[in-house]
């Protein structure tokens, strides 16, 4: 046992020496790295470009990958900010906490999930129950909803995306998407496919709405800045930038910039909803 004690002391001394030398390895940092949600991506990129224009010496790098990737990257310590279009899961929080990380969700904008159809579709409105029936396959022809005799082409996000999770939570409520649904990897892919496919229905973040697709009202409420912020529009969610603990240093400067009036103007510019009405 004496030998064991000696070995433990030796290892402890070595650990101590290496810990002391750590200050040499950690220098001042002039970059911010982030990855994650493809929904948050446009606002993160726009904010990064503007922030770098304002501070020439600072580099801000932005990657996509999906909310799960953003949070996992934050936990792995490979990024400073994990972008996410959903709140962190208990499973992810556990993984973070056991590695000594303390993810803090900083809400930087609001987003409505818009239900979009091909512009040629005459339908203007749906309710959540009908939407669920379409996505689960109980309704498969637009005729059943007063439209033309045309099959409904269901387009969804892939199961690992944050957008799918919010859609699943607010619309599917535990039901399975019909088996022949097209599961696409990005909001842009959904918008493009809906625009090009007659009879298609899909869902995208508000930032991806354009004249190429037609947004539908949900229970009489159109997805818009006002209806999302007021909570009237039910398919809405906050967008997060997760940091390890409260933001500090350059990361704080960057998030403070997004939360400033100038930053929130960028949020609006890319189609998301600013946290407060802009002056």
């Amino acid at each position: 046992m004496k030998k064991s004690l000696n070995a433990i002391i030796k290892v402890s001394v070595l650990v101590g020496l290496v810990l002391m030398s750590s200050s040499v390895l950690f220098g001042a940092k002039n970059s911010v790295t982030m990855a994650g949600s493809t929904t948050v991506l446009p606002v993160a990129q726009k904010a990064a470009e503007t922030f770098m224009d304002m501070h020439n010496e600072i580099n801000v790098s932005v990657r996509g990958g999906g909310s799960g990737v953003g949070i996992a990257s934050l936990i792995a310590g490979s990024v400073d900010i994990g972008n996410s279009s959903r709140s962190i899961k208990d499973k992810e929080l556990k993984a973070a906490r056991e590695k000594g990380k303390n993810p803090v969700g900083n809400i930087i904008a609001l987003d409505g999930i818009a239900i979009v159809v091909n512009p040629k579709n005459s339908l203007n409105e749906l309710d959540i129950a009908t939407l669920k029936n379409i996505y689960t396959g109980k309704v498969s022809n637009w005729k059943a909803l007063g439209g033309p005799d045309q099959s409904i082409v269901v387009i969804s996000r892939d199961v690992s995306s944050g957008t799918f999770e919010v859609f699943g939570e607010k619309v599917l409520k535990g039901s399975k998407v019909r088996e022949d649904a097209l599961m696409l990897a990005s909001n842009k892919a959904v918008a493009t496919t809906v625009a090009e496919t007659p009879g298609a229905i899909g869902y995208v973040g508000l930032g991806y709405l354009s004249e190429d697709v037609k947004a539908l009202k949900i229970k009489g409420v159109m997805p818009s800045e006002t209806t999302v912020r007021s909570g009237e529009y039910k398919l809405a969610r906050p967008l997060y930038m997760y940091t390890n603990g409260a933001p500090k240093g350059l990361v704080k400067d960057f998030i403070d910039f997004i939360l400033s009036t100038d930053g929130q103007k960028l949020v609006k510019e890319v189609g998301f909803v600013p946290l407060q009405p802009l002056p």
Partner: protein, 345 residues
């Protein structure tokens, strides 16, 4: 297991999965290792080997039902062609089938939710203490109910398993099921405390005689992760009772592991470990201790920051309490690489 049968099984499984699954992820994990073993000034072994060649299929049937099927291809001198295949994981998991958030029920050959073995990432090339000392295998046949505590405060697992690992199957398996309880709490970020218990008793289900009358194994685990330091501690004990001609005797084993890991720069992990194990407490000079030192050089990472290609280098010395047995030195260098892709998306 017959290799042709395994290949046939794999083809069948692939075709079933392509038909049923929404997505199927195919991944491989390979460990190419060099090992030199020296004892009493003589080289005992000096070999290159494929220690692990996991071929893994993970079908997602619905957002709540998933599966995992995993074959391990490895170097082995037991077979004429020098390679072996074994089944390591084959289970289906059902998520949130009961109204408990993030709960998971699995059936088949899954990880053994005990001590450190179920989240052992082989930061050192050596196995987890309970696996290394053959108290618990890293996978076993059974049913598992696992889940997470709210707000990341920890996790739990309740299992009923064979208790004898994945290498025994069919009639060779002890028929008494072994209940296992595992709990891991994370009261504050960076501090994990927990433990597991396994209890197995002959005659629990049937009266058929087993190799032992009862077995009790338990472990206490602590982990402290602050800044570049990630330190693991584990205390492990096992009591094994056998009746011979009406006389009951019990063998008690115990030991511990201390493993500090230092990560100052992303590509480099410095790893240290000290294990102590006494297989039979009632015997004199029966134990041994192992000191491990080394580093992992992470060359490539995936999009989530997990290393996908890295080199591990470990020096490992085992010293025996019995002074007649000379210390055993091992030098291991291992290249680990993984890749994955979705077959159907």
């Amino acid at each position: 297991m017959n290799k042709k049968a395994i290949v046939l099984m794999l083809c069948l499984l692939l075709s079933v999965e392509i038909t049923l699954a929404i997505t199927t992820n195919l991944s491989m994990e390979l460990w190419n290792r060099y090992t030199m073993v020296r004892q009493a000034g003589k080289t005992q072994s000096n070999v290159f080997s494929l220690e692990r060649g996991y071929l893994r299929l993970e079908p997602t049937f619905t957002d709540k039902i998933k599966g995992r099927f995993n074959l391990d291809f490895f170097s082995s001198d037991k077979y004429n062609d020098g390679a072996g295949i074994k089944l390591k994981y084959a289970y289906v998991e059902f998520n949130e089938v009961v109204p408990i958030r993030l709960s998971r029920f699995s059936f088949g050959m899954d990880k053994t939710y005990f001590g450190t073995v179920y989240d052992w990432a082989y930061v050192t090339i050596e196995k987890a203490l309970e696996d290394k000392e053959k108290v618990i295998s890293s996978a076993d046949y059974g049913i598992n109910f696992t889940g997470y505590l709210p707000k990341g405060y920890g996790e739990y697992a309740l299992s009923v398993i064979n208790g004898e690992g994945y290498s025994k199957a069919g009639s060779k398996v002890n028929i008494n099921p072994a209940p296992v309880v595992n709990l891991r709490l994370i009261p504050i970020p960076g501090v994990s405390l927990g433990g597991s218990i396994l209890y197995e008793k002959a005659g629990f289900i049937d009266t058929i005689k087993t190799a032992y009358d009862k077995r009790l194994a338990y472990t206490g685990v602590a982990r402290f992760a602050f800044g570049p330091l990630d330190a693991w501690f584990e205390y492990l004990t096992q009591a094994y009772g056998v009746s011979t001609r009406g006389v009951y005797s019990e063998t008690k084993s115990n030991g511990f592991m201390i493993m500090p890991i230092l990560r100052f720069i992303r590509p480099l992990d410095l790893v240290f470990r000290y294990d102590k194990w006494v297989p039979n407490n009632s015997k004199e000079k029966d134990g041994w201790s192992t000191l491990i030192g080394g580093f992992n050089w992470n060359i490539l990472f995936d999009s989530q920051g997990t290393p996908t290609l890295f080199v591990q280098t470990n020096w490992q010395r085992t010293v025996y309490e019995d002074s007649n047995k000379k210390p055993l030195d091992q030098i291991m260098v291992q290249l680990r690489w993984t890749f994955s892709n979705n077959l159907i998306d």
